[in-house]
């Protein structure tokens, strides 16, 4: 190749597509960046081309080949609704969108690298699950939410695609939920409530990935040559009860059938909004994945482990706390004269 890489990024108006595009636009190894989405990116991403297209339609098969890209990054697999992509159409965006995109790749002979920004939801959320899923354990657990089934279905298409095209090095990144003070995501809004509803009797183990690490991991995957599924997660795991204590937030235990509606009702008062079904299940049973493949084979080491990611999030969220600290820790701290 004479110049640098020519990269197409789907979902460029979302957080991850936008972050990656502005990183790659500044990278001298990259010659050309084009973003694809249903609406233009909200901010200025630098020297980035934009194609307005809906991945759910076959039009992408006509638009992609003329760009002569060699790298495709699919950031259009959505866990929660975004502007212009409401909850009820997520299934179509995730499954049909991926299917149409892979078909378009087959018609673009210049492509030699495909990176899919997928989800660890493919492992399901079960109480009795292995505590750290390795990549080959996908499909061992029942899939109970729409999103889990969608991810499993589109990974099936992806597997077919990579088997049919061994000349293209393609990988599927399985992200654990990301958190960051600047990230507008339901999980972050949930954790920033002044008192946080939890599911009575359950204390899920979570691996929340720092948003900066999530972006860096995506970028690292573009430059690496890794193939197949890769778990993207911080090292370690933290229970929800500890997360809330680290944030100085009292919990409101609620019987689990009422948890979803309670978060929606309670959150509305603080602009937090509802959680998707899959997040409700995650907040009951939790999920841990093994990140050895990411660290050893992809060569990416997250800056923050599971504990530090939460600590950083809570430190930044504290600045925007609504209402006084209600947590017994804060009150007792004053009592003992060592308060903070």
């Amino acid at each position: 190749m004479t110049g640098g890489r020519r990269v197409a990024i789907t979902g460029i108006s979302g957080h991850w597509g936008g972050e990656l595009a502005s990183l790659l636009a500044r990278d001298e190894r990259v010659e050309y960046v084009v973003g694809i989405d249903t609406r233009p990116p909200p901010g200025d991403l630098g020297d980035v081309d934009f194609i307005e297209a809906d991945l759910r339609s076959a039009v992408i098969s006509r638009l992609l080949p003329p760009t002569e890209i060699d790298t495709l990054v699919h950031c259009g697999i959505l866990w929660y609704p975004e502007p212009g992509k409401p909850t009820r159409s997520l299934h179509d965006f995730n499954v049909i969108g991926t299917l149409q995109l892979l078909a378009a790749c087959e018609r673009t002979p210049t492509i030699d690298r495909v990176v899919m920004r997928g989800s660890a939801a493919i492992y399901g959320c079960e109480g009795a699950a292995p505590l750290f899923f390795t990549e080959e354990l996908a499909g061992n657990m029942p899939l109970r939410t729409r999103f889990q089934r969608d991810v499993s279905e589109l990974e099936g298409y992806f597997e077919n695609f990579s088997r049919r095209h061994p000349q293209i090095s393609s990988c599927m990144l399985r992200f654990q939920p990301e958190v960051g003070a600047d990230l507008d995501a339901p999980m972050v809004r949930y954790l920033s409530l002044p008192a946080v509803p939890t599911q009575l009797g359950y204390d899920p183990r979570l691996q929340l990935l720092d948003a900066d690490d999530a972006t860096s991991a995506l970028e690292a995957a573009v430059w690496s040559d890794i193939r197949g599924p890769v778990n993207i997660a911080p090292s370690g795991a933290v229970s929800l009860s500890r997360i809330l204590r680290m944030g100085g937030r009292p919990s409101i235990p609620i019987p689990h059938p009422l948890f979803g509606p309670a978060v929606e009702r309670f959150g509305a008062g603080f602009g937090a909004g509802p959680l998707v079904n899959d997040a409700v299940r995650l907040l009951r049973f939790g999920r841990g994945v093994d990140n050895a493949r990411m660290r050893r084979e992809m060569g990416f080491e997250p800056k923050r482990d599971a504990v530090e990611a939460v600590r950083e999030l809570m430190r930044r969220l504290d600045g925007r706390r609504v209402g006084p600290p209600l947590h017994p820790g804060a009150l007792l701290g004053r009592l003992a004269g060592s308060g903070r």
Binding site: A129, Y202, S239, G248, G288, G337
Partner: protein
């Protein structure tokens, strides 16, 4: 893991209670002088004895989320907090006699394999933990494999995880052993806990020998453990399959006291216990690939099973009466 932190012990002596009285007096004087109660208490805190101050600091540390939970969900502070209850069961209720505790490796990986009994709620894992923590010259917290179903239930799931339980699966056992932990497994599983009282101390089938595969793959020594006394705590006289199916349980035992006495029926009978840790079975001569050799896996599994069965009979004779 950041366990092993020094934790203050709390105990109230005569001197301390005087200090406590002084503290309360100062708080009252503060309030009478027109200061609000919280500030008054804060000012008076200086007069508290150090043990109380330390205890408050420990609670504060936990409330800030600074505690020793590891990525498996094991919470050492929590395990220590429930320790006294299990110590009571161990010392007073079941009067556990332990032999061969030095056969438990003091460091590095190790697989403790034991018989499983106690229909309603098996206590063998907790009593083995007590034995290692109290009798071993170098105490360490073992992890144990628990029936999957327990991890679906509210409260029980988070309790089990905090005291070191993980869902029984070869993946979990392998990963823990690779971290050089001490892991307890009960290969009989539900077949062991669910057998009727008339079949007590007769070892059931050892699954498919999965524990041997894990031990071979991770090159971990196997320590067979014989537990006597666990069969009498909830003698299972009958079974209620319909009720078990209704709540999704693998089985629902009927004991002389449960469900007849309601919650009181959950109190285990005070049988006399003996736990023997046998000499370790050295499998280091076999390479990790030997885990795929079915014949070898069954041979080792059978050897472990026979060792445990023989030791159970020995300890039954040594124990004499079941309750006295």
């Amino acid at each position: 893991m950041n366990g092993g932190e020094e934790r203050p012990r709390v105990g109230v002596t005569g001197e301390d209670s005087e200090a406590l009285a002084r503290f309360l007096r100062e708080v009252r004087q503060g309030v009478e002088a027109g200061v609000d109660p919280v500030t008054a208490a804060g000012d008076a805190a200086g007069s508290l004895p150090s043990v109380v101050r330390n205890a408050i600091e420990t609670i504060l540390r936990r409330l800030r989320g600074e505690y020793s939970e590891d990525e498996w969900g094991f919470d050492e502070d929590f395990a220590e907090a429930v320790f006294p209850l299990f110590r009571f069961l161990y010392e007073v209720w079941w009067r556990v006699d332990v032999t061969g505790v030095r056969n438990v490796p003091a460091h590095g990986r190790g697989l403790l394999v034991a018989n499983h009994a106690g229909s309603l709620f098996p206590f063998d894992a907790s009593m083995m933990t007590m034995a290692v923590m109290r009798e071993h010259p170098l105490p360490r917290w073992p992890r144990f494999m628990v029936l999957d179903w327990a991890f679906v239930l509210p409260f029980l799931s988070s309790f089990m995880r905090r005291v070191g339980g993980v869902p029984a699966s070869p993946h979990n056992a392998t990963a823990l052993l690779e971290r050089d932990e001490l892991v307890m497994v009960f290969p009989e599983g539900v077949k062991g806990t669910g057998k009727p009282f008339s079949e007590r101390y007769r070892l059931q089938r050892f699954g498919r020998g999965g524990f041997v595969e894990v031990a071979l793959r991770t090159r971990s020594p196997i320590v067979p453990v014989a537990v006597v006394g666990s069969e009498e705590i909830y003698p299972k006289l009958a079974d209620s399959p319909a009720l078990a199916r209704a709540i999704g349980a693998p089985f629902l035992p009927i004991t002389p006291t449960f469900p007849l006495l309601g919650p009181l029926g959950l109190v285990p009978l005070p049988s006399k216990w003996r736990i023997e840790f046998c000499e370790e079975i050295d499998i280091s001569e076999h390479p990790p690939e030997a885990a795929d050799d079915r014949g070898l896996v069954f041979d080792i599994s059978e050897q472990v099973r026979e060792t445990i069965q023989a030791k159970i009979y020995e300890n039954l004779v040594a124990r004499g009466g079941a309750f006295i």
